[in-house]
């Protein structure tokens, strides 16, 4: 009411009152950058250029035509790298137009070779270049009087802003030098032209991206720039969160983008991803739904998929909502959303979507802690049937994980992983390759084969990234890498190489700052290592505060550690009750490793009360279950416990027999601490067998001599 101007408001995006969301479908608008490209094309057809230079220029055309708008500096630099002479000519031509009058620009457009007449040139109407020129000419001819003037103004601005900021050129200079040397090396052989082109194009794009970051806050992006920005940030969020913009900064950019282009639906999706990063459920749900509301509109307009596209996005909308709730741990909500997605997908016979639903279904089951093997198997079968390699091998990996915890034989698991690996390489599913390697590392570690685990971890860490965007960059910050690095740290800690451990952890901290989504993995790993160290050094007061932190990250682990500390502090009753609770909990969740650890710790408690004979059945049970699950390190540890019990029960011969079984694997794979204990125990057994009955004094000496306080209490790992 008070704002008079509101009646003047008119929205050009509307025809018949309906706002056309997809105005961006029309991508061919004449911009100053496009004029520069036209000038380049013109120069290329007009002037004589040597063959290698022409070849390089030809390689440049497609990326220039289809890439985002570059600034003049970047553009000229790119061209200069290929052919300085042409770059100069282009610059001259632009100068003519920008410093001349409007008629110079009009003249330029009129002199462009018309694709319909030039039969022999590259600009023939059906060629890529010809098509581009036709589009441009058509777009130019459509401009109204004031639009032409505006175009000219912006061309002038484009040209002069390049010279107004000489810093731009200087910034680009080092890159230029580096590229030149690159060029010299590779340009000799034109057979690797493909690769050269790629690298050539990559560098300016990175530069432009860097500059984008500064320029973003200044003004809106063009369609292409925005798309590129979104794609890159989304990629980084997935693969290398550290390099992506900080959540707040990204949010700001997105808000900015949406302010100028409220119809840019993809920005909402990135907004959703970004809010997930900071665990903001409200904003992420809001953005997700907004995105799909928008998508439904644009899906409807797409001619090729028609009605199908519209229904499709609905299904995926529900599916995405399910995944959102799943990630925030709202399993019930996720279940409802998933059921909805499944129902709609079934109604419209969309098998691919159903397949996605199925894989989410088993994931959800797993997260809820129930058995989902059957579902997963079904999912794998169906995925293979519908030729969805990604889902199929994801399912297999999940099956392998379940199989490993359920004690499937090693060769079956490894076979399955090997088969999926073939699939991955065939379809170059780099993400899954990484996961597969990390998984192998974990399985080897679980089996207690530290050397194999080490080897697999190194393999993953030394592997170059296979993603096209980060091609050739060695480090890729995915979850798989975090897992591998954590294993590496723990393996080093086992060998007492704490300096190396701290270096690895430092690296992890840098790569995955605490707010990022995989940070919890290394945090837990760090805490565990510290805890072990303090326990081994007998500094229980230092270990105790760590327990709280551990339980915050992992409840089960925290419970176990608490029992350990209590046991070390001789508060046996409390420790015993905690271990009982742990036992019950772990049996329910089928966490065999923890069950065995709990048993060993309980056996240790029995020792303290000299109940060696009561510890025996417990240890045997632990041994059986460790062997059944192929947990070698735990099995050998159990054997050590068993031997010690036997020694204490006065049957050192038997103990020695048992020990022989365990000593080899311990020496081969065990931690330093374990090796020491095993050897010590062997020595004691041998002494006992040899008839050397240490009197009380002798035993006391033993205790003093032993590297750690070799009492029954500290025996448990």
């Amino acid at each position: 009411m008070a704002s008079v101007h509101e009646s003047l408001y008119f929205n050009p995006m509307m025809t018949n009152g309906v706002v056309h969301v997809n105005v961006f479908g029309i991508k061919d608008w004449v911009t100053p950058y496009k004029i520069s490209v036209l000038a380049l094309l013109y120069e290329m057809t007009a002037s004589k250029i040597t063959l290698p230079e022409r070849r390089r220029l030809n390689q440049l055309i497609l990326p220039l035509q289809q890439g985002p708008d570059l600034t003049l500096g970047q553009f000229l630099q790119t061209v200069e790298e290929c052919c300085p002479q042409t770059a100069y000519a282009v610059k001259l031509r632009l100068h003519e137009m920008a410093d001349g009058e409007l008629k110079d620009m009009e003249y330029f457009f009129s002199t462009l070779p018309t694709p319909f007449t030039a039969f022999d040139s590259e600009a023939y109407k059906t060629s890529v270049v010809g098509l581009f020129m036709r589009h441009m000419l058509l777009a130019y001819n459509k401009l109204s009087f004031s639009q032409v003037y505006k175009l000219y103004k912006s061309l002038q601005h484009y040209y002069h802003s390049h010279y107004a900021k000489p810093t731009d050129g200087q910034e680009g200079l080092p890159a230029l030098v580096a590229d030149d040397s690159d060029m010299d090396l590779t340009s000799a052989e034109d057979t690797v032209g493909d690769r050269t082109g790629k690298e050539e194009m990559d560098t300016p794009l990175h530069v432009s991206e860097l500059r984008n970051d500064n320029a973003l806050s200044r003004g809106p992006l063009s369609q292409k720039q925005a798309e590129y920005f979104l794609a890159r940030q989304a990629y980084l969020l997935k693969n290398d969160e550290n390099k992506a913009l900080k959540p707040a900064a990204l949010q700001e950019e997105l808000n900015n983008m949406l302010k100028f282009n409220p119809d840019f639906a993809e920005a909402h999706y990135l907004n959703y991803l970004n809010s997930m990063r900071v665990q903001d459920i409200f904003l992420s749900a809001h953005s997700l739904l907004h995105y799909f509301d928008r998508l439904i509109l644009s899906g409807n307009e797409g001619k090729s998929n028609g009605d199908e596209g519209y229904g499709r996005s609905l299904r995926y909308a529900a599916l995405n909502l399910a995944s959102l709730h799943c990630r925030f741990g709202h399993y019930h909500q996720a279940d409802l959303a998933l059921q909805e997605a499944i129902r709609i997908a079934q109604e419209s016979n969309d098998h691919v979507c159903l397949q996605h639903c199925l894989s989410w279904l088993y994931t959800l089951q797993q997260m809820k802690g129930s058995d989902s093997t059957v579902l997963t198997e079904d999912s794998v079968k169906m995925a293979a049937h519908f030729c969805l390699p990604y889902l199929a091998s994801l399912g297999i990996q999940s099956l392998v994980q379940q199989g490993a915890t359920l004690g499937k034989t090693a060769h079956k698991l490894m076979d399955a992983l090997k088969d999926t690996d073939i699939l991955h390489w065939k379809h170059s599913l780099s993400e899954l390759i990484e996961i597969s390697l990390a998984q192998t590392t974990s399985i080897w570690r679980m089996y207690g084969k530290s050397t194999m685990a080490l080897q697999q971890a190194q393999l993953l860490l030394n592997m170059s990234s296979l993603e096209p965007v980060n091609f050739g960059v060695q480090q890729n910050n995915t979850e798989a890498f975090t897992v591998a690095l954590c294993h590496l740290a723990e393996l080093h800690a086992e060998q007492g190489l704490y300096f190396a451990v701290s270096e690895i952890l430092q690296h992890l901290k840098e790569q995955f700052p605490p707010h990022s989504q995989h940070a919890k993995l290394w945090m837990l790993c760090d805490l565990k290592i510290q805890f072990e160290r303090h326990m081994n050094e007998g500094k229980y007061h230092l270990a105790e505060p760590l327990v709280t932190a551990i339980s915050a990250l992992n409840k089960t682990e925290g419970l176990f550690r608490k029992a350990q500390v209590l046991k070390a502090l001789n508060r046996s009753t409390e420790a015993y009750s905690i271990l009982k609770r742990l036992q019950v909990h772990c049996e329910k969740t089928k966490c065999t490793e923890m069950v065995i650890r709990g048993m060993l710790a309980t056996a240790g408690l029995h020792w303290e009360s000299s109940g060696f004979s009561t510890a025996l059945p417990l240890l045997l049970q632990a041994l059986a279950s460790a062997r059944q699950h192929h947990l070698q390190s735990l099995a050998s540890e159990t054997i050590l416990h068993l031997a010690f019990t036997q020694l204490m029960l006065g049957v050192p011969e038997k103990a020695l027999n048992v020990l022989h079984e365990a000593i080899e694997p311990v020496l081969a794979h065990g931690a330093v601490m374990e090796k020491g204990r095993a050897l010590l125990l062997t020595a004691r057994c041998q002494m006992a067998v040899a008839g050397f009955r240490p009197n009380r004094k002798g035993q006391a000496d033993w205790c003093l001599l032993s590297p750690c306080r070799f009492s029954s209490g500290s025996f448990g790992c």
Binding site: S3, E6, S7, P12, N16, G17, V18, V19, K150
Partner: protein, 575 residues
């Protein structure tokens, strides 16, 4: 300022009238047409002043005299929308009035150019960049003056508008508050402020001058924030204070009644309004909404034709015609007219939502979603659009998905039963009976508009075999329906009676059962069952030769089963 000192006490109508007359002339001189209109409308509602009581015109300073010629020239250019020309001739003038007009012309010129520019931009790259180029300069100049404290009430208002356009909302609020303090009578500044206030806490935290106009502002704000009761109270006070003839207040009250769906009251007020001001177009879209809800075809048709005669290119007219076609089930035409309304003003919220409804009728869900999304973009607090989105997804059979939208709508209108019933239905579809029960019960507690919540609740209880609760709900439902006196429309009464009959029969309360069965016979669809039940009852009675005494007790409310546990005891929270 002098003005601020004057307007201290509320109730002195003569004084208020004087204020209004003087501020209206000030606004007119500065081209602030809407504020002038508001002021004169209100002044018209008050008794005319005797000649000697008329307020003196604003003091004429030396500066004013100097700028007089330039100002009158520029004002005439300004009135003809030649803003640049007006600004050119005002450059260098030093009086406050000239300065305001100078800045205001520059601002409007920028706005006009921006709008023209958007038509022929150079593609999407430019599209987002189109903005009022004058804003930045204006801001720089005005902020300099602002810091120096040289701005008067009108220029402060303009400064606020510039800040708001630049999305500097926090600063804008401060400046508007300043503007109001320095010139409390300028309604435009209050209105701009009202657009920036998002919640009641923010409203309370503002320090506003204590002036009679504040009551108008508060009433307006309460309406905006959906606090209808408070708003109605405020307006009632204003009417009692002597503004009973004001069309503005009448229309505002009518809109408020419309918002709380008190349709009859609102209709009466609108009819009164049309008697007093037959050529009024403002708010007529709301009126047509009411007529639409009541399905009053002839009245709506009359209104539409009347408005077309007055001015057919007004947003409100288009909305009325859209409603008219919608009522006649010509949804394509209706959509067309809503589109036309949006062409006239794309920020017209109601039209977006109504268009969404039309597309829903036409089963064009994606277009409906688009329209609703636009409505939300214009105003995030538009509960009807959220509700509409929810409905769309419900039609697409996505009950879980639509929960989010219904929840949003419910958040905005916590006491509206329709959202609660919709939420309950979605929960029911998802087999979340507990939540569904809560929703239905709450819907009943806040005053169910459609009278469906209880029935649904009863059916839910029936499904869950909670027969006592179900019977209780049916009983309440029947009481509810009969108290309204419109049992014809609700065929479900027979369902309730049938269930109650069976229920009493099972519980061996044969008198009540036979009463219900007899009532069942009044309805066609339940007649047979009613008769069958009566027969069963008489059979059972024959078998039991000695009926106990208490069975003859007359049916009264005491005999209805006592509700043992309400699903969610929210009665105490009902407003």
């Amino acid at each position: 300022m002098k003005m601020a000192a004057l307007c201290s006490e509320f109730g002195d109508l003569v004084q208020i009238k004087k204020h209004l007359i003087s501020v209206t002339s000030l606004c007119k001189e500065r081209g602030l047409l809407h504020s002038a209109k508001w002021g004169s409308e209100l002044a018209f509602a008050l008794d005319p002043l005797p000649k000697d009581e008329l307020p003196p015109s604003a003091p004429f300073t030396e500066d004013d005299a100097q700028d007089l010629d330039a100002l009158s020239l520029a004002k005439s250019y300004f009135d003809l929308k030649e803003y640049d020309r007006a600004a050119y001739f005002l450059k260098g003038c030093c009086s406050q009035k000239a300065y305001f007009l100078y800045m205001y012309s520059r601002y409007l010129s920028g706005e006009k150019k921006k709008d023209d520019e958007t038509v022929d931009s150079l593609g999407p790259l430019e599209k987002g960049q189109v903005r009022n180029e004058a804003l930045r300069e204006l801001r720089v100049e005005l902020s300099k003056k602002h810091n120096a404290g040289e701005l008067d009430g009108f220029t402060l208002y303009l400064y606020g508008v510039v800040l708001r356009k630049l999305d500097l909302l926090k600063e804008a609020v401060e400046v508007f508050v300043d503007a109001i303090h320095s010139l409390p009578l300028h309604w435009g500044a209050w209105l701009e402020l009202s657009n920036l206030v998002t919640n009641i806490e923010m409203l309370k935290s503002l320090s506003l001058p204590d002036c009679w106009i504040k009551d108008f502002f508060m009433a307006h704000m309460y309406t905006e924030l959906q606090m209808i009761k408070e708003a109605l109270q405020k307006y009632q006070n204003l009417i009692e204070a002597g503004f009973s003839k004001s069309t503005y207040i009448i229309s505002q009250i009518a809109v408020a009644y419309h918002n709380i769906r008190d349709i009859d009251q609102a209709l009466a007020l609108f009819n009164e309004l049309r008697d007093q001001d037959p050529y009024r177009i403002d708010n007529m879209d709301t009126f047509s909404n009411l007529l639409y809800v009541k399905s009053m075809k002839p009245e709506l048709s009359y209104l539409a034709h009347n408005l077309v005669e007055i001015d057919k290119y007004r947003v409100e007219t288009c909305c009325v015609i859209g409603n008219y076609y919608s009522l006649r089930s010509q949804h394509e035409k209706a959509a067309l007219y809503f589109q036309r309304a949006l062409k006239l003003n794309p920020r017209c919220l109601g039209a977006w939502t109504l268009m969404g409804h039309e597309y829903m009728e036409m089963k064009n869900t994606s277009a409906a979603i688009q329209a609703y999304r636009h409505a939300i973009e214009v105003n995030k607090r538009d509960y009807r659009a959220w509700y509409g989105l929810g409905q769309t997804y419900e039609i697409l059979k996505m009950p879980f998905y639509c929960l989010y939208y219904y929840r949003k709508a419910h958040q905005l209108r916590p006491n509206d039963s329709r959202m609660l019933v919709a939420l309950g239905e979605s929960y029911e579809k998802l087999s979340q009976q507990v939540e569904a029960k809560k929703c239905y019960w709450r819907a009943y507690s806040v005053g169910d508009v459609e009278k469906m919540a209880l029935l649904k609740l009863a059916k839910l209880h029936e499904q869950l075999n909670e027969s006592d609760d179900a019977a209780q709900c049916y009983m309440l439902y029947i009481q509810d329906i009969f108290s309204c006196g419109e049992q014809l429309e609700h065929a479900e009464v027979s369902t309730a009676l049938r269930y109650l009959g069976q229920y009493y029969f099972k519980n061996k309360l044969y008198d009540e059962a036979s009463l219900c069965a007899a009532r069942c016979c009044d309805y066609n669809d339940a007649r047979e069952e009613g008769k069958a039940l009566l027969r069963q009852i008489s059979q059972v009675r024959d078998q039991i030769e000695t009926p106990s005494a208490d069975l003859f007790a007359p049916l009264s409310n005491n005999n209805t089963p006592v509700r043992r546990v309400s699903p969610l005891n929210l009665i105490s929270f009902t407003p």
